[in-house]
Amino acid sequence: MREHLTTTALGRAAGAAAKILAYAVMILFTVLTLYPIFWLVMNSFKTTREFQVSQLSFPKSPTLDNFAGAWKLGDFGKLFPNSIIYTVGATVGIILLSVLAGFAFAKIKSRATKPIYNSFVIGILLTIQSLMIPLFLEVNLLGIYDTRLAVLLVYIGAGLPIGIYLATEFIKGIPNALVESARIDGAGYFRVFWSIILPMSVPVATTLAILNVSNIWNEFALINILVSSTDLKSLPLGIYKFSGSLSSDYGKQFAALTIGMAPMLLFYVVFRKQITKGVAAGAVKG
């Protein structure tokens, strides 16, 4: 009896210790994660002179001048619409092409499915950044260097392997009977696609949207070699401008970084649950 009591008391003590330790670890890493971001935003409200005197204190007289300055200097008025075009265009393209092909792979029997589908799955493992240089030469060869088309094509192509994999696996789960009964009623495949498959694929389409929106919005390496004129650049390219000769103008640099961070932060705050779910679903490699 007594022994039993002590073990549970011990167990409770150990449990409490573990709890304290767990909280300590979580709080430590939370601070480590949030403080740099907070620090960045805080300093975007300081003048460059105040930043140089004191980087760690709160801004004495917060100013919004940096934001106006950075917005103008970085041409953000042009870059924002571009980023939206690339993100929305490529995401919609990836979803549409993936669900279309996924439908064909999952529901129409063909000997071509195995080799083509497998080639997409292999593509999941391929890191497209390693193909940066040949892609650059290819778009030059095709005469589409420095065009929106090149950016959209590359983004869609890069998103397709995982998109097609997830869409095909998802559509396989839609009962064949649904497709067959519609077919017997005389519906063509595209009719079936529009009225049955597409509406039922909303969950996988959401996952794909979540996965691609933040990836494409933040993408830098590829667009960096695909366009050169300011009219076509995306937000990350504009922010990078603040690293070179402009980097000593801390006030504007921090404002630019905050501007660059804000849309995705907002997106994250609104869609956090879907984002974490989508990431877990999309983190498949082979």
């Binding site: 767990a22 997409f120 040949p134 290819e138 094509l153 830098f220 390496a221 974490t276 990431v279």
Partner: protein, 374 residues
Amino acid sequence: MSRAKRIDREEGRAYWTMVLPAFAVYLLVMAFPIVLSIILSVSNYNGGKMFGGPKWGFAGFGQYARTVADPLFWNALKNNAYIVLVSVFGQLPLGFIFAYIIYRRIVKWPGFWQGVLYLPNIISIIVVGLLWQTVFSPSGPIAEFMNSIYHRAFEAKLSELFAAAGGFNVTDGLVKRILDLAGPSGAAMFANPVPDLKDFILSYPQGHLGQVINDLANLFAQKWRPAFLTRPDQAMLPVLFVILWMYTGMYLILFLANMQKIDVQVIESARIDGANEAQVMRHIILPALSGTMVNAAILAISGSLSSFALIFAMTGGGPSHVTEILSIYMYNKAFLGSPNFPLANAIALIMVAVSFLLIALTKALEKRYGGKEE
């Protein structure tokens, strides 16, 4: 018969109309560049129009030989390996621990911790790179923080000296002690240290002892200019730290999502049967996650090979190439100085080969040693 044929034909047409757009884009963006890379890597093409421009042709496998003979290539490959190691031995275990703490409800507010720790993943890598470049800079916040500590410590020592001398009572002895405190670099600021410093202190009005102490500390206290990103032998460390900072949350999400697939009743009944937390971990959670671990390791490998923007923004591969990874090394060969496209393409193919090799290796290890899932 003819009806069946018509249906077959309709089926075939529908199939290809649905598959071809995706397949065409995929070939254009993923397959064609590889073919182009293979051709160019053994050519002497060096810019200009590919057709109708300067003549170019087959030039042998020299670029591959040049690449493997270049110490900078091996340096870049080594840095890629460091990134994989930080992922596998840093992000994976940390992410696993966080996921376990949240999954077993050892802490409250599971959504909050998850939300916070994943946050860096959604920030633009360029923003992250530039942010941390400033943090680690010689005059950044880390330096300011350390220097304010030095400053305060120096002020405390000065206050002691003045207190011992009985306040603002500037004698040669006191000045000498202050100079001792300042060390040789402090004395070197003056032609005749003792009288000069004495004059300097006496130039302050009587009541301003605090001001004197503050100014003397500004003058003499040790100033630290950290060289995190400028010293070749350690510049890779901050980069690896930032990679850890940025992506650990992704592994947390990955592990947590897969832990949540485990049947809660299995764990509960094991606990009721007397299994302790360690046994639950060893016999239920870990075996259920072996597939996820392999998946995470593969993510780490491809993540390492696809990283570019962080280092591009944070160090640009410098100082003197030490923080280059393969993608940056390749980029520099193609776009920095006189372009060498054959060489850059050879590196691209080596990268593709390395990634497939490593992933095949991981898969083979899983087959040989991996636990059984489900």
